[in-house]
Amino acid sequence: MDDLTFRLPGLKRTRGETADFEGPLSLILQLLSRNRVEIQDIRIGDILDQYMAWLAGMERMDLEVTGEFITMASYLLYIKARTLLEGTREVEELDELISSLEAQKRKETLERMKLAAEWLGGRSGLGEGIFIRAQEPIDGPPEYRAHSPALLLRALGEITGREREAAALPRTVPVPAPLAYSIRDKSDEILLRLRDRGRVSLAELFAESRSRSELTAAFLSVLELYRAEQIGLLDTENGLEVLAAPAADPAGDRDGGNAHGS
């Protein structure tokens, strides 16, 4: 590729000076790898234009020269693309070059972003005075919206209706008063009976009861009287009999019954 040289006007050297470049493509890559020129200043379009013009002048395509050009140009394009687009893949040969270019790019970006942050900082008060509200919680059950006031009136009507119904009912319900049969009364009755007749069968005493209350009173009276030793109990063939006296009736033994003493 010795006979193909490129001319790139206004290339920036790293020391701040600007100079034109003239030479083969490989020289550009060499200068780039030594950080002698800035990749930003190399216009790929210019290089391609010159190559196309050179090719047109040759009026034929030399595959060897073209192949070399493509290799060089693709390297250049790759570095340029990496610089501009900040790709992430690595090329070993140009690692250092690329990382220095990336660092420079990052530095420039950070400087730009510091300016942007400053600009934003100057505006951060602009929206502070605007208050906004969150969305109303309107996802609830739909029946709790869209009610007519007439429904309240109906609810009130139902309450008064219930009151009227309650008023129609009789004020007091006749509840049968419990016939409290006093154990003391029943005990007196049993003692009177025994004074007259001497003995009475327990079954008869219970059978005479006209209510559950009287029956309970009779049962409890017998127990109480027996405990107070006012009466005695005798086990006969016809069942238990209540005796007028607590002392064991000799007749009981005579009859073959057992007087209950405890």
Partner: protein, 187 residues
């Protein structure tokens, strides 16, 4: 116009920024028509010195209180002015605003310092939001700025951010020249 009233009702009920495309679909209107209705509403609020303002936040509309009455609102609701964002937070926001969507690692690469706390803080404040994951090892989370960011910085769109440097445009020119050159080679 009826659309103005409908949009006003929707924005009132929504509270939060409401997407313009949804309004377009709901009302069967073009983007320009929705924006014109929004402009009419906003102009009326300002002209009549009303207490609300209509905010255009990129691709959404939102109702907010009028900033000139902010002190009255603060006194009524007993709130204080929010603390100013730190320079570090502003840097992170600037990087996110210009290069979004960005990963936390990308922000850290540019700033050269750990930025996880600041990113978390900005997400908490509602200025940044996650927007998917980068298709790269580790699948890092991507972040972008929110409508709240635009509102607080008094912006209607990210396009209002000032331009610093023009590197991407150079790339565009070069690629175009290359494409033309290659087309010529093929011919």
């Amino acid at each position: 116009m009826e659309a103005d009233g409908i949009i006003e009702s929707i924005l009132f009920a929504a509270g939060e920024p409401f997407p313009i495309p949804r309004l377009m679909a709901l009302l069967d209107l073009s983007r320009e028509e929705v924006l014109a209705a929004a402009r009419r509403l906003g102009d009326r609020y300002s002209y009549e010195h009303r207490g609300i303002r209509l905010l255009v936040l990129e691709d959404a509309l939102q109702l907010g209180s009028a900033p000139e009455y902010a002190d009255w609102v603060r006194r009524a609701l007993d709130t204080r002015k929010p603390a100013r964002l730190s320079p570090a937070a502003l840097e992170v926001l600037a990087i996110a605003a210009y290069f979004q969507p960005v990963t936390r690692t990308y922000i850290e690469q540019i700033r050269g310092v750990d930025s996880s706390y600041t990113v978390g803080l900005l997400v908490e404040k509602g200025f940044l939001e996650p927007c998917g994951r980068l298709d790269a090892p580790g699948r890092p989370m991507l972040f972008r700025t929110t409508a709240a960011f635009l509102r607080v910085f008094g912006l209607s769109s990210l396009e209002e951010l000032p331009s610093y440097g023009d590197a991407p445009e150079i790339a565009g020119e070069d690629l175009q020249a290359l494409a033309e050159g290659l087309a010529e080679v093929r011919d």
